[in-house]
């Protein structure tokens, strides 16, 4: 059911910008883990109403991530379908012992997007990224400085630890996590040498882990 990719990069830079701006809602609190686990268990028992309930709860969150990475709404929605078909088929593989269901669901969506980005032309990604940076800047400036206010009530520890990383380096890590950019794409976007970007990202992740485990 995949649609072909035929829209020129420039057209998408405008339309995707529009999509994000018009339909973006405020950030959300994490859905209750016990409830998500119960829904996943019912999905594993082939209860279709549980899949629908799960969709109502998490689809807007997952589509936000997919759109941020894939930029194009049609592709993001196709990927969202892939993700939910996979949830339906693999719900029995979610093991509650191993952790938060939301982390598992987000990972399914992000890894699907990363797979799709692999086959894509670099130019498309870069043109769109500029438009999206504009959206992010609008969001951040509306909320205060550098996203602080939007983060205040969510994941305080993660944001505090991200804030300890120098701004230029933090930007590289977030371009990877939120936009799905590769090292090479980040290097072009921030106009730094590839080797520098790689070592910034590596060291930022180390410092993030040390900070979160402290």
């Amino acid at each position: 059911m995949r649609r072909s990719v035929g829209i020129p990069a420039v057209a998408c830079a405008t339309s995707c910008f529009y999509d994000l701006r018009m339909s973006a809602a405020r950030s959300v609190v994490e859905p209750d883990s016990a409830e998500l686990e119960a829904l996943l268990r019912r999905c594993a028992q082939r209860d279709a109403s549980a899949l629908e309930a799960l969709y109502r709860k998490v689809a807007p969150i997952l589509l936000g991530t997919l759109l941020s990475m894939l930029k194009r709404r049609d592709e993001a929605e196709d990927a969202l379908q892939d993700v939910f078909v996979k949830i339906w088929n693999q719900a029995n593989q979610f093991d509650a012992i191993r952790g938060r269901p939301m982390a598992w669901l987000i990972a399914l969506a992000r890894y699907r997007a990363i797979d799709l980005l692999r086959g894509r032309r670099t130019s498309l990604v870069l043109v769109d990224t500029e438009a999206l940076d504009g959206v992010a800047a609008m969001r951040d400036s509306a909320a205060g400085n550098e996203g602080e206010a939007t983060q205040a009530d969510l994941g305080g520890a993660l944001q505090r630890c991200l804030d300890q990383i120098a701004a230029a380096q933090r930007r590289c890590v977030l371009l990877a996590y939120e936009r799905g950019l590769s090292h090479a794409e980040i290097a072009q976007t921030v106009n730094e040498p590839l080797g520098t970007v790689k070592s910034w990202v590596r060291r930022s992740l180390q410092s993030l882990r040390r900070c979160l485990e402290a």
Partner: protein
């Protein structure tokens, strides 16, 4: 891949979850994840660390057609309009439906002594509580009658198609299933022959007008013993 040191494993897991581990290195790490619980645990710790950042992204409401597409692709599209709170089918219900159909057939055979028409071959539905179609095929006749028991409209641009599943051989189309009312059609000799050696019927979701290939191409939503 060398991840002998815990530091190396951490770095790889971090890059994998971030998405900067790409290409064949990513494929290899995927395989390691599946094979080694230590690797999987390192990945999960990183997935967990990042959740808050995803939740801080703007949420986006999906378009209306997305859920219908998921239903069709997961094989749970058993009716056009989902009723809120309606349960889907599961294996227990399918077995219950099969038992009902066999009972109906057995009772039919016994009471009617095999020569009274019409004879119910199968009741097809998403589960025992939601029968959608009743299939009748009197022995020694070549008529197939399909009665719609409850609203069964296919998604826009799609059709439900009925198949006989011969014990040995490929599915044979018995035509499209109506969304309302009832239809009676004469089976072709090949369809009749296939039905006589079939012990199951199936329903698949096909492009409008039916499968273009002569075999099921879309999701099979019902398989029912006859």
């Amino acid at each position: 891949m060398n991840y002998a040191s815990p530091e190396r494993l951490e770095a790889l897991a971090a890059a994998y979850v971030l998405g900067t581990l790409r290409g064949r290195a990513r494929d290899r790490f995927d395989a390691l994840r599946a094979a080694d619980p230590l690797v999987e645990a390192a990945v999960q710790r990183w997935e967990d660390r990042w959740v808050a950042r995803t939740l801080a992204l703007p949420t986006v409401a999906p378009s209306n057609g997305v859920w219908q597409g998921i239903r069709a692709r997961s094989g749970i599209a058993n009716a056009h309009e989902p009723r809120p709170g309606r349960r889907g089918w599961n294996s227990r219900r399918v077995v219950a439906a099969a038992v009902l159909a066999v009972l109906a057939l057995a009772i039919g055979l016994r009471l009617r002594n095999d020569y009274v028409v019409p004879q119910v071959v199968a009741v097809l539905g998403s589960d025992a509580a939601h029968p959608l179609w009743q299939i009748e095929h009197p022995r020694r006749y070549s008529t197939l009658t399909i009665r719609v028991l409850s609203n069964a409209v296919a998604p826009t641009g799609r059709s439900y198609e009925l198949w006989a599943l011969p014990r040995n051989g490929k599915p044979v189309s018995l035509g499209l299933l109506p969304g309302a009312g009832s239809v009676a059609r004469e089976l072709a000799p090949a369809q009749l022959a296939a039905l006589r050696v079939s012990d199951k019927l199936a329903v698949s979701l096909e492009p409008s007008g039916g499968s273009p290939t002569g075999s099921p191409t879309g999701p099979v939503i019902i398989v029912q013993a006859i």
